[in-house]
């Protein structure tokens, strides 16, 4: 189901191989008892991003997007797999990496809530040890591009969401990071602000060669910015390629779920392959373009079939939802 686009063969800036993140969740059962359950936020995730790329990273809520970003930035330690950003293992050398990356969280600010933008930026200059000349130059440029001039002396808490986002993006770029991660940078913004943020990101990517990885719910972000899109669902990479490729996903697979009268070894049948067995229930993948009827007939012929259902590819649901939102905004 995963298609891989050929990427330019420069050394990858971001490299993930077999990355997994498992959380242990304790749930209350009844009044006092609790059970432990493992939640696989990300499983076996592998991809690379080359220097200068601008990649959209999409998927439904809870798909593992934020978890991935948190691992890439060194906030979260992966449970398994190999992860390198600019040759650094994020979770081990978080502080060294921090100087080379920029992060924008759409839902919360990285600025100091009670301080004017100017003070926040000044403190970041110190913290990131940005040479004064470089700082002035960058700040002037961003103030100009993002029209921040009148906002510099306003405390962050008094800024509108769009204004704050412009401040946040500036804060993330002052130290000339090699990679910029944006987690929902356009969430909650009005159309004008969205357009402005997109324009700016394009400029930074093209002008500076800054590598950008952004998560979004807004397909327009992807259409206007990213040459490459990765789709994640249930913690797995479902698609990695260009946007057009998403449209021609007709050759993906559907899943036939069959309930047998008793637990049996994996069904062997032409036109479908078992991907999962759980007691009497089995999951068979078959080409989405093919009809399910011959497959069902073949199984019913040779196995004690009790019940069945067909699952559409999860990716279709994701894209359908994304398009619905894309049209709406």
């Amino acid at each position: 189901m995963t298609t891989t686009q050929p990427h330019p063969k420069t050394s990858p800036l971001i490299e993930l191989s077999g990355i997994a993140k498992t959380f242990v969740v304790r749930r209350r059962v009844g009044r006092l008892r609790r059970t432990r359950a493992e939640v696989h936020a990300v499983s076996d995730l592998s991809f690379t991003v080359s220097r200068g790329e601008m990649v959209g990273y999409i998927g439904p809520n809870g798909a593992g997007k934020s978890t991935t970003i948190k691992m890439l930035t060194g906030i979260l330690v992966p449970s398994a797999g190999l992860l390198r950003v600019a040759g650094i293992e994020p979770s081990r050398e978080r502080i060294q990496l921090a100087r080379r990356i920029g992060v924008v969280f759409g839902q919360r600010t990285t600025l100091w809530w009670d301080l004017p933008l100017r003070d926040s930026f000044g403190l970041l200059r110190r913290i990131y040890k940005i040479p004064p000349a470089r700082y002035r130059e960058n700040l002037d440029r961003f103030v100009d591009l993002l029209d921040l001039g009148p906002l510099l002396d306003v405390p962050v808490r008094q800024l509108s969401l769009g204004q704050r986002m412009r401040g946040d993006i500036t804060a993330a770029l002052l130290h000339d990071p090699e990679v910029l991660y944006l987690d929902e940078p356009t969430i909650g913004l009005d159309i004008v602000s969205k357009a402005r943020v997109r324009e700016f990101l394009r400029e930074v990517n093209a002008g500076q060669g800054t590598t950008v990885l952004l998560t979004t719910h807004d397909l327009t972000d992807i259409e206007q910015l990213c040459s490459r899109v990765m789709v994640i669902d249930h913690g797995r990479l479902m698609y990695d390629g260009d946007l057009d490729g998403l449209h021609s996903l007709g050759d993906s697979e559907r899943t036939l779920v069959v309930d047998l009268a008793e637990p049996l070894p994996a069904i062997e049948v032409d036109g479908g392959r078992v991907v999962r067995v759980d007691g009497p229930r089995q999951w068979l993948a078959f080409p989405a373009a093919a009809s399910a009827a011959p497959l069902v007939a073949a199984i019913a012929d040779r196995y004690p079939l009790a019940d069945l259902s067909i699952q559409e590819p999860a990716i279709e649901a994701v894209i359908a939802r994304m398009y619905a939102e894309g049209v709406a905004s």
Binding site: K70, L76, V103, L115, D119, R126, I127
Partner: protein
């Protein structure tokens, strides 16, 4: 380490500058702290309207004990008291923001919202300390003289560690921040009074479990030339630096464990 201290310096400088933009408000809050925390001493003073001795200690002696505890927690509160807000920061996700900056999260959490108004408590306690030292008839020997600054420093370190332990606990239970208060402000309350008024078990807990007794009780017993209610060896009265080092180590490990669990669970 140098980097961390520098970053701490920059962050607190910025907060001080931003505080000074509202000078009147700053002065009012500092006075508020001065008088507000001073009410604790007013309470003790009122007690002494009715009695000459509390647990065998006179007002100036209790004042000395009160003030040394007050300076210590005041300093700790000033230096890293903001760390007690870490539970709030875990809940609103801003710990993530700290973890993507090239400065240790500890420094950021400690320096966050550095509040110079907390000088109010330190000034108030210092005033009581100076008063008690002028009134008290202490037989000053070189070891007693030396013990005063040592106890203030060790007391500060011990309270800093208690603050950090409280913060580390919030990684496990982010909405039970109040538990930490029982040990920070509760510890301060405990060490405002002479040890002789408390049950032996409570003194033991404050000596061997959480070494609050080394903030001021132990050295004060030597300075004021009093018998130890537990009858512990004299060496305990000089052991504040060891107690401070031990609890600092434990607090450091607890904080690291807290951060590690955050980074493996994200909550």
């Amino acid at each position: 380490m140098v980097d961390a201290l520098r970053a701490y310096g920059w962050i607190i400088t910025m907060w001080v500058r931003s505080t000074m933009a509202y000078r009147a408000s700053f002065l009012m809050l500092t006075f508020g702290q001065f008088f507000g925390t001073g009410l604790d001493f007013v309470t003790i003073f009122i007690m002494f309207v009715h009695t000459d001795e509390l647990g065998g200690f006179t007002l100036p002696e209790v004042g000395f004990i009160y003030a040394t505890s007050g300076v210590a927690i005041g300093m700790a509160d000033l230096l890293l008291g903001s760390i007690e807000r870490i539970g709030q920061r875990i809940r609103d996700g801003s710990v993530d923001v700290m973890l993507v900056r090239p400065v240790s999260a500890f420094v950021q959490a400690a320096a966050d919202r550095f509040a110079l108004r907390r000088l109010g408590r330190i000034l108030q306690s210092t005033a009581v300390l100076v008063w008690s030292l002028t009134v008290l008839d202490i037989h000053w020997t070189w070891d007693r003289v030396l013990l005063v600054p040592i106890m203030l420093i060790c007391g500060t370190v011990i309270f800093c560690s208690v603050f950090v332990l409280g913060a580390a606990f919030q990684f496990a239970a982010s909405d039970a921040a109040q538990v930490a208060n029982a040990f920070t402000y509760g510890g301060n309350f405990l060490t405002q009074y002479p040890p002789t008024i408390f049950a032996k078990d409570l003194i033991k807990a404050a000596t061997f479990a959480i070494p609050l007794a080394f903030v001021n009780w132990m050295p004060a017993l030597h300075i004021l030339d009093r018998a130890d209610p537990l009858g512990l060896p004299k060496a305990f009265q000089f052991a504040s630096p060891i107690a401070a080092a031990a609890i600092t180590l434990v607090a450091g490990l607890a904080w690291r464990a807290g951060i590690r669990s955050y980074r493996s669970t994200g909550s």
